[in-house]
């Protein structure tokens, strides 16, 4: 009977969650109204440095193992923050690009579609990279394989610039 009660509670929460999500999909939320304001800058060079295997190797040689482990964990924690921030930016850009997709200018639509494609790929990639970084945090001596995340983010940034130039916007900002 306990499991039945748990299932009833699960059903109630699922229904409430579905209603909330459905409402969110239909009504414009505050966050979706001004996504561009919420974009946070990502220092791509700093991120590259954090996940650079050569940099990691240099630190491994220079530092005592205990200190290296501590430093490496902090570096990886920072890298996770960067990836999360980039993935969040990609989500916000998806909203902007979705609006640009409705433009009457075919070039803007094409740019918006490319941006959507790459922003989605970036978020997919973030899903794979973050667990890898956490594993590397647990086993800092194992060494990190190359993470080409920064390249993908820069690709998205290039398309944002293109879209920013092309997309005719209302003077809201």
């Amino acid at each position: 009977m306990t499991i039945s009660i748990i299932l009833v509670i699960f059903a109630v929460f699922t229904l409430l969650w579905l209603i909330r999500r459905a409402k969110g999909q239909y009504l414009t939320t505050k966050l979706e109204d001004h996504p561009a304001r919420q974009i946070r800058l990502v220092d791509v060079e700093a991120f590259r440095n954090l996940v650079d295997p050569a940099e990691e190797e240099y630190l491994r040689i220079q530092l005592p193992p205990a200190v290296f482990r501590k430093i490496q964990r902090r570096r990886l924690r920072a890298a996770i923050d960067y990836v999360s921030c980039a993935a969040r930016n990609a989500a916000l850009l998806l909203n902007i690009a979705e609006a640009a997709r409705r433009s009457s200018d075919p070039a803007t639509v094409a740019t918006a579609e490319r941006l959507i494609d790459n922003a989605i790929r970036l978020r997919l990639y973030a899903l794979r990279v973050i667990p890898r970084l956490y594993i590397a945090m647990l086993l800092p001596m194992r060494g990190l394989t190359a993470v080409p995340f920064a390249d993908r983010y820069e690709q998205v940034a290039r398309q944002v610039i293109l879209l920013g130039i092309r997309f005719p916007a209302s003077p809201k900002f």
Partner: protein, 255 residues
């Protein structure tokens, strides 16, 4: 009193599904959502067939049971097909996500199947009426799977900020109502189903029937709601961010 209400709701439900089915065909929605249209038509047909069998004096209980079982089996298969239809419709405008999305969907289904089989194994039916308890155990298993898939659907689209067409939201919400109410009532009935119908069973039946009626109302309402364009209102990207990104890009290109 409860039984009378249940009968009224049954007639209302059959009428609503019939009306919805006709509306879907007249509005050409069957082209965009063929599986959903088929499901609604199936439910309408189920009502049209079951009601006369139930009330006709020359039909037997066994005949009703066979018709009922056929109806519910078909509806169950179609509900899963609808979720897949929603998922593929959702991924259509996003070619980058299609392959990965379908693959993740399959893995999520496999994981949920393992969970529901384990649940059915470790928490078997325990009601006094063996046949009905097993029936509700099966319904509970199916509904847990449906709820899990719907949760996955919303979580997945939420993570990738996918744009939903209004009617897809409506279909999902209606299915969600059916699956969650079905799960809650089946979980209780699988454990306490009595040999002869009592008031608790009548209340559960009434709640379940109301869910069917409510879902049909949701689908009808969403069918007439205007399509809301998704995405942010057209706004320029913040100038300072663009400039900084531009600088980053210049630096990158000159490396």
């Amino acid at each position: 009193m409860l039984a009378r209400l249940w009968h009224i709701l049954w007639f209302v439900q059959a009428g609503l599904y019939l009306a919805l089915s006709l509306t879907l065909f007249t509005r050409d929605a069957n082209r965009n959502f063929p599986v959903f249209t088929f499901y609604v038509s199936w439910m309408a047909l189920e009502g049209v067939v079951l009601i006369p069998i139930y009330y006709a004096p020359f039909t037997t209980g066994d005949q009703y049971a066979i018709a009922f079982a056929t109806g519910i089996a078909g509806a169950t298969v179609l509900r899963f097909a609808i979720i897949y239809e929603i998922f593929t419709r959702l991924l259509n405008p996003y070619p980058a996500l299609r392959d990965a999305g379908v693959s993740v969907f399959r893995w999520a289904t496999v994981a949920l199947l393992v969970i529901v089989i384990a649940l059915a194994w470790f928490v078997p039916a325990a009601g006094a009426s063996r046949v009905m308890s097993v029936f509700f155990l099966l319904q509970r298993t199916v509904d847990v799977l449906l709820c899990g898939l719907l949760l996955f659907l919303f979580a997945f689209s939420g993570y990738f900020h996918l744009s939903w067409r209004s009617y897809l939201v409506g279909i999902s919400l209606g299915l969600g109502v059916l699956a969650t109410v079905g799960l809650a009532t089946a979980s209780i009935r699988a454990q306490i189903e009595p040999l002869t119908r009592n008031q608790t069973a009548d209340i559960m039946e009434l709640i379940n029937q109301s869910a069917y009626t409510f879902s049909a109302l949701i689908w009808i309402a969403y069918l007439f709601l205007p399509e809301r364009p998704r995405g942010a209102t057209p706004t320029r990207l913040p100038k300072h961010d663009l400039e900084t990104w531009n600088q980053e890009l210049q630096r990158f290109l000159h490396q």
